[in-house]
Every structure is written in C-alpha cells, then in structure tokens.
Amino acid sequence: MNTKQTLVVIGNGMVGQHFLAGLVNSTAKEQYRIVTFCEEPRAAYDRVHLSEYFAGKTAADLSLVADGFFEEHGIEIYLGDKAATIDRERKQVTSANGVVVDYDKLVLATGSYPFVPPVPGHERPQCLVYRTIEDLEAMKTAAAKSKVGVVIGGGLLGLEAAKALKDLGLDTHVVEFAPRLMAVQLDDGGGAMLKQKIEALDVKVHLNKNTTLIDDGVECLHKMNFADGAVLETDMILFSAGIRPRDDIARGCGLEVGPRGGIVIDNQCRTSDSNIYAIGECALWNGQIFGLVAPGYAMARCVVADLAGDVGSFTGADMSTKLKLMGVDVASIGDAHARTQGALVYTYQNGSSEIYKRLVVSQDKKRLLGAVLVGEASGYSTLLQYCLNGIELPDNPDALILPQRSDASVGLGPDALPASAQICSCYDVSKGSICSAIEAGCCSVGDLKAQTKAGTGCGGCSALLKSVLDSELTKLGVEVNTDICEHFPHTRQDLYNLVMVGEIKTFDELLEKHGKGLGCEVCKQAVGSILASYWNDYILEKQHIGLQDTNDTFLANIQKDGTYSVVPRIAGGEINPDMLIALGQVGKKYQLYTKITGGQRVDLFGARLEQLPVIWQELIDAGFESGHAYGKSLRTVKSCVGSSWCRYGVDDSVGLAIELENRYKGLRAPHKIKFAVSGCTRECAEAQGKDIGVIATENGWNLYVCGNGGMKPRHADLFATNLDKDTLIKYIDRILIFYIRTADRMQRTSVWMENMEGGLDYLKSVILDDRLGLGEQLEQQMQRVVETYQCEWKTTLADDNRLKRFRHFVNSEQGDDNVVFVEERGQIRPADPMERKHFKLIEEAA
C-alpha cells in the first residue's frame, strides 16, 4: 500500500533545514516519507546570527523552523538523537538511541565542528568553542567567573567571538598563528589595517603566536605558553582555529572522503554512493570545503532539484564576505590575493582614517577579479556586482576605491544590473525575482524578505536590496514612506481632511498649523492639488503659484528641451473641419510639431515659453479651451463613434463622452483621470482600460471603474449595470470625489481601490448603498467644482500681471538660445546635443 520511498536526512542544521524547506515545496515531496535525525536538543537555528544570543535573542528567536513545520509536512524528526552508523548494504541508518530506519535516499548534512589544536592543556576547564547555543551558554557561565578571555584564531569567527567576549566585559585578547588577521580573506595591508582598528577597540592582538602549552596561571586560571617563549595569562580560552567537516559517519560506511576530510561530492552533490548526497559544510566539492551558509544552501537546492527530476547542479560558489566586526567594516571579494595570472593590483591606503582598499583587476583592466576593503566597505555591493556579473570596469578602475569620488557616484545604480544579477547570494535571489515580487505588491524591505527570503541570511545584501526596491518603487510611482515628505508628518489623505475640517485655504496656513520647514516640490504640489480639488480656486492665484510645478505654472507640458506643448480640449474627440483647420493654422503659423495623441486629440509641440500666450489667444479666439494635459486632472473622455453612425451602436457614445468631459474638465485629483465611452460591447473606445469606463447596452449604461493602461495596466471592474444617465452621473460624481478625498498622492484609481480595505465591494457599498451616508455631500462638492469651472488659459490671458511670467528673461525680450530645432519628416524636433553644438558654431561664425 505504501508506495512511498524513504528519505533520511542526517543533521538538522542550517543546510539540512533549508533542504527540508525546499523539499516540501517541491514536487519530489509526494514521493517520500521523510525522516531526519537532529543531534542537537533543538531543531535548526540561525548559526550565522548566533552571537545575537548574547545580545538578548533567545533560542526561539534564532529558530529557523516555522511552528508546526514538521507536523504539517509529516516529517519524522528525532531530536537529540544522533545518527550513529549507516549500513549501505542494507540501506539502513541506526541512531545512538537505537532507532533504525531503512532509507532509499540519504542526505548527509552534518556540518562541521570547531577544530581544537591538540595543545597540551586544551581540555582544561573553561577552554571552549563557539558553534552551538550550548557553547554560548557555557561561555556565559565561564565569563561570569573570568576577568580575562583569549580567543585562539584571528579569522572571521575568532574576531566575532572576541567581540562576544568584549561584550561580556572581559579583558580580551586574540592570539593568531599567522602573521596577519583574517589570513584567508585579507592581504597583508588589509590585515595590518584591521589589526590597528581592532586594537583601537581595546582588544589586544598577538600575531605569529604558536601556543605550545596551557597550564596553571598565577593571576588567572590558565597560563598560555607560546613557542617564542612569551606567556599570557587568562581565565577562559575560546578556540576558533578553523572548522573540520563532520565526516565520521561517512568514513564509517566507506564513503569517499578527502585527504584532509570532507565527504566527496560531484556536481549533483552525490557522494561516491549515488543514493547518498552530502550538503553543507560536511561536503567536499572539487577539493573545497565551503564554510559559509550560501554555498550550503545552493547545494540543498541542487539536491531538491535532483530528487524532483529537474536538472540541478552545484558548480562552486562565491566566497566573498562582508562583515561588520566590532564596528569595523571588512570585506573581501573574489581573488583578493591576486592569484590570477596577470592580475593587476590597485591599492589605496589612508592611514589617518584607517581605510585600506585593494582592487584586483584583470590584465586588460576590463574585469574586476577581487577586492579587499577595510575600514570602509560601502562599495562592497557595487564591487561584488562588477565581479560576479563581469561588468566592464570604467576606464580608471582605481576611481572605484579613491575617496574623492564617493562610492555612490561611481556606484552601479541598481538599474545598471541585469535582471539575472544575483542580489542575495545566501538565497540565490536575482534582481529579476526581486523586481517581480515588487510588481506583485511588495513595497518594503520587510515584504521582500518575507516573500523572496533575500536579505534574511547574512544580511550583506540588504543595502542593495533596499536600493533595488527604492528604484523599482520609484519607477512604479509608489511612495515608500506614508508621510508625504519631511515637511508634513501626514499622508495626503490626512492633509485633505485637515484642509477640509480646518477650512484651510493656503499652503502657508497648512504648513504653519501642521507642518514644518519651507516645504518642497512634493508637498507643495500635493497641497496645491488638494486646495484646487476642494476650493477650485484659480491655480495661478498669487498664494498658489509657488505650489505648481512648471507644467501647472505655465499651463503646458514641459518638453525635453525646455519648450512646451499645447493641448487644447477636444471633448470626446469630436472636432469639426473648421476647428481642425484653426488648429492647423496655429500649428503652421508658429511652426509647431503636430501630432494626434493617444487621447483622441491634437498636441502641438515646441512652443517657447514666451509664445504660449499668443498661441493660446489664437486658439481661444477659435473656440478652444485648455485641455488640462498639464494637470493631475481629467484628461480625456475617449469615445467611439456610437449609434449615430455605427451600425452596431446602441446609444450615443459621442454625446455622452462630450457631456462627461465637459462636466469633469478641470477637476484636480491625486493623479490624472481618464474616461471612455463605448457605444456597444465591441468596446472600440477601450472603456475597460480607463479610470471610468461606460459602455452602452440595450437597457442603459454599464459603468466600469478603476482601470488604466500605462505602466501597470489594469482591467476595469464592472461597477453597476443598466443605468440611466442621471444615475450614472450621480455615481461618477460620488466615486470621483471619494477618490479625491481618500487616495494617496500620485495614486491612480486602480491602486487606490486595490489598497482600500474591502476593495471593490466596499467601494460599491459606499457609492451604491451610501453606507457612509456621504452620498449627498460628495455630489454637492462635485456640483461646486462643476459650477466654478474656468478655462485657466482664458483667465490667464485676461490678466496682464500673470502674463508677465511668460517670458524667458525678466529683463530682456530675447529667447533662450539653447532651444534649437532641426527638421525631420517635414516638421521640427529638438536638436540633440551634438546638433545643438554644431548649430551654435555656425551661428557664431556667421
């Protein structure tokens, strides 16, 4: 009956657990009954952050196992029971407690143990190691009785242990056999700088010291005797002299192990017995042991893939590391020792600020091979990305470590990285998967950690993770902090309510009552928009003018060369030949570039600031009005031709589109608003891609809401069906004012609704069932806006004072000589910088 095979995992440490977590999410899970042996008294915990145990974290805080994980997935775990032997003939594992399990597949994840050099006296009391929670408890007990502590070993872990001793209040020493600290990762220069910095923290460093004997001390419990005759007294000793793979159980059953230990594995992480895998620190791949968690995780993923029948392979791992040791930044990347043939080395050393940096570059100076950073490692992520992705170096690679150009300025922005770039090496998370998670809604580092696991390992990638997040969010137009900016500790909604409740009419008043500082372009525009939505004043009133960005200030859209575009309203896209001719005449007269927009109207480009009033005067004389293409306001109401002409049309979509556009034109909102009206379900106006979409049916109008195109297209939702026109307008009034009152800055209706608790149903209950009793108020506010509409261009043209602003120079009639056009396809376009230079030269010569 039981067709499942048995999979046994020996060791439930970091890698063993990562393997189980991956397995239960894979298709392979169904094929196996899973059994695991865990020697330690508790299931897997985060060894990487073990030191935080001293900072108050509990064993539970460090746990890597979700509550109920083993039960939920039917995994049998033997806690506190060590697998003692493997019988490969019988395919059987026997534990120290006598449990016997038959296996089909076996995974060894036994990790490593701290190497304790066989110095006579090493077994004396208070001579400890640093690997498990029990070790840390023993340290705490010993430290309570000690004044002096010594760490033997000045590598990564040794220095971390020294910090722990220092924090426990001991007089701390580090004794290192090699002539420098972190001998594996650093070169001599880096090691020397690190020593200086560690000593500045009052930890004594003893290099070139070979301990020959530990015996009784006079002042302290122990006396350490060194080969050079020196001695050092201490109360406790921590050995941190490297790790050794735990391969005893593999040796016991005749699996191949390396000459210096380690269970030999191939690229699929299989040992010399193809039914047995080894992963993590116990495994030896290509003659190499990996003493970091990320390569172990990669091996675990490889085995999960192999079991699931996918192609998985482990082909080595990057051993770059970044540490914050006792407040000292240290990082090592790739070939730090410049062992590659022909490698070139650049070194930067700053004695006074104790910074040491070294770059190892390929012979042709194009690729970064390795780097060492001590004292200042902010460039780590950038350099690592250069190294891992083989990104071509700038012409002067030394610029990457020279101080006057900060790392930020030469930094590879997250945008420069390919989607395949690995951001988090611990969990092998690429930039691409982070971007997809952001698109799927993650908007904080916390979300991303939860979703992708990136940043939850060594934490070394968190800065990069944050910058990818910020850059992606910015691209998506999402605000990160909910405070609108540093000047107001409020969201846009709060500000709206403050304006409404306090009857506030100007930015200065709001700033004085609820903010601080002078404001900035963010809060000024938002408040400008709120005031405009609520009071519907002319936006260029003296007290509002500083709140408008250039587009609103000049009632036109700025273009790449500093000229502006002119977009008159063409309601519903309907235009008669005379109006078309008038438009054409203006375009021709002022030599503007003309184009039909995606919003069913005409855009005239290339107007100089000083030309805008005359152009608009002519347009207004011809019967046009502002199209508000510059504002966060109603843009266009697209229409299809509808029942007047179309043989399928069931209602007059053009008529309704014009009516709607005229009703809502000029309405200021948190973001732009677009409408469309289609005359039948063939939907030629694409109404379901709009904030407000209306489609005619035999029985009335169907209303769709919260759609848009753009960066993240969203199909609109059907909101109400078969409405008569008055009801339709009533609902739209309510929706729009409710949106204006409650949306965030720069939030389109789609995102607004998706972020609203209760979503579409809630919105329906507010608008259709009037659940908040706001319906009438919302309609009244809209009515006020409709009644106070003015064409901003008309108002502006009637005011000489306002017109003063429409000139390039306050003290000259000249124009901007930097604006230069060239001809393309019979119309103008802005000259590119090269063309511009050329043009200026000709002009000067003439």
């Binding site: 900060s406 500082g517 002078l518 250039t550 790449k560």
Partner: protein, 124 residues
Amino acid sequence: MSQWIDVCDIDDLQADSGICALVQGLQVAIFYQPGLQAIYAIGNYDPFSQTNVLSRGMIGDIAGEPMLASPMYKQHFYLRTGICAEDKDVSVPVYPVRIDNGRVAIKATSMRLETPLTLAAETE
C-alpha cells in the same frame, strides 16, 4: 573689480518662485521668498537635462537647507551653494544677489569666468 548689476524691479520677482534674468550674457535664476526676506541667485542651466530651465523649478528646503527642484528630472540644488543634493559632484554657479531700494542686483565679479557646469558625461 566687483560691481552690482541692476537686473529688475522687486515687483518683477515671483513670490516663493523663480524668474530668469539675462546678466552679461549669462542666464541667472532668481528665487524670492518675501515671507523670509530671502533671495537667491543661481545659474539657470540644468546640467542634468542640459536645458535652461532652473528658474521654473519649485523651491523649498531639505532638512532646513533651502533648495530648488529642477522642473525637468527633479534633482535638487541647494540654493546657497549650488550643489546638487543627489550628486555632490555636480553643481550650478551661485551668484551674490541683493535688493536695494526696490531694485534687484547681481554681483558681477566672477560672472564672466563662470560658465555653466556641464556633466562630465556630456557627449563630445
């Protein structure tokens, strides 16, 4: 020799906003905050977009330091130093400016020397 050059009337300034003046062939953006009795003058050329538009940006502060946001791509320039907040290696020139007897003047000293800064990356 330093010399104040008369530019315009105080009424030509835009409260809490900017205007552009042509001073000895150079474009100078002048920002005025009557409430704070503050006035600043910087180059009008935006090194990022390579256009003469800074006078059309919005002003405010970053952590109390007065700044201007470029209307094009929204980089911030400190009004007192001309340094760009996003990229300290980029800056725009800053000019002494004063209001005297209702007239606005810019100091001519270094004027001719200071040409608008362009980005190192500008195509050659």
